[in-house]
């Protein structure tokens, strides 16, 4: 009976100050660790996500552009030679090979000459919206990619190292993570033309 009362009294005393201090210290360290891990995890995930987006956008736009520029080539339409690079490589004017005489082929069956549609296309990136597109005059015809901050075209006219049938294209994509970190991806590729 005396032993039971002593246990009850000890229980009623609660925890000592030392116990509380130690417990609070352990809890604080653990909570700080959890918070640090959570913040770093969120940061890493955001950066990896943005990194993937810019890389994907750059590659996607290059792939789409390749599909289009494979159908272009050196041509003279209305007395103007195409393709033509403008604004230090920021814009590319080109025409597309197509079946103009309706014979079912994109070349003249008598002469074998390639046929070129009399439409002038312009590939350029919009610095405000970050959209890389192909325009006809002021009208956006095809969207090739977004988050594109810069594009650069190079042909044999600007650089002799570039092959005659080649267009060298550099695309740079940019994003900013929620933490304000810039994420950039730049890629250069060659695209061979029809002729």
């Amino acid at each position: 009976m005396h032993e039971l009362r002593s246990i009850d009294q000890r229980a009623e005393q609660g925890l000592t100050l030392l116990e509380v201090v130690i417990a609070m210290t352990v809890i604080s360290v653990l909570v700080a660790g959890v918070l640090a891990i959570s913040v770093e995890t969120a940061r890493f995930t955001a950066f990896a996500d943005d990194d993937f987006i810019v890389q994907n956008e750059a590659q996607r736009s290059i792939s789409k552009m390749s599909d289009i520029l494979h159908k272009t080539g050196w041509a003279s339409v209305g007395g103007i030679n195409f393709p033509q690079v403008w604004n230090n490589g920021d814009e590319l004017d080109f025409v597309l090979n197509g079946d103009i005489d309706g014979n079912g082929y994109a070349f003249n069956q008598e002469t074998g000459e390639l046929e070129w549609a009399p439409v002038i296309y312009t590939a350029r990136a919009d610095g405000v919206t970050g959209t890389l597109g192909v325009y006809v005059g002021p009208f956006l015809l095809w969207v090739l990619g977004s988050n594109i901050s810069d594009v650069d075209f190079l042909t044999n006219v600007e650089d002799n190292d570039v092959r005659f049938k080649e267009i060298r294209v550099t695309v740079q994509a940019d994003r900013v993570t929620p933490d304000g970190l810039p994420v950039t991806y730049s890629t250069t590729t060659s695209i061979h033309m029809r002729n």
């Binding site: 009850d8 229980a11 009623e12 609660g14 925890l15 116990e19 509380v20 417990a23 352990v26 809890i27 653990l30 909570v31 660790g33 959890v34 891990i37 959570s38 770093e40 995890t41 890493f44 995930t45 990896a48 990194d51 993937f52 890389q55 590659q59 290059i62 390749s66 092959r163 005659f164 049938k165 080649e166 890629t187 250069t188 590729t189 060659s190 695209i191 061979h192 033309m193």
Partner: protein, 142 residues
């Protein structure tokens, strides 16, 4: 013995207080255990991100490698047929910028043939997955 004293965690702390368990709230031990569990879960979540990060890095390496080969293939198709063997001789090795020991090895089934079958063997050392290798073929004709 009442129902409070039977509780394994907090019941015996207030055996004669007359307050219910609901009024007594969580004990320090309960809170500590909960935080330990949360900590373990957080560490586990963080550990899951490691393989995700590795996979992301590998995917990026593969993209860089594929883009390099695609550029070479486009250049080959832009090169006059009679200059291909000069620009890309049999056994030539082209370095890939951005990949550890990244190389593209050029070879031909028959260098004198037309159509010319060109083979590009791409290899690099991935820090995560070890040696990587892929092969690409293209055909050119005069």
């Amino acid at each position: 013995m009442d129902c409070q004293s039977e509780h394994p965690l907090g019941g015996d702390l207030l055996p004669h207080s007359g307050r219910s368990r609901v009024q007594s709230g969580f004990s320090l031990l309960e809170v500590t255990i909960a935080i330990v569990i949360l900590t373990v879960l957080s560490f586990t979540t963080a550990l899951v991100l490691i393989p995700v990060s590795r996979e992301h890095r590998s995917a990026r390496e593969t993209d860089v490698a594929n883009a390099s080969v695609r550029t070479i293939l486009e250049e080959v198709h832009a090169t006059p047929f009679n200059e291909i063997l000069t620009r890309y001789p049999d056994g030539d090795q082209i370095a890939i910028v951005g990949l550890t020991n990244g190389l593209i090895a050029v070879s031909y089934e028959n260098a004198a043939a037309d159509p010319l079958v060109m083979r590009l063997d791409l290899s690099w050392d991935s820090p995560e997955q070890g040696p990587m290798q892929r092969s690409f073929f293209t055909v050119r004709t005069e």
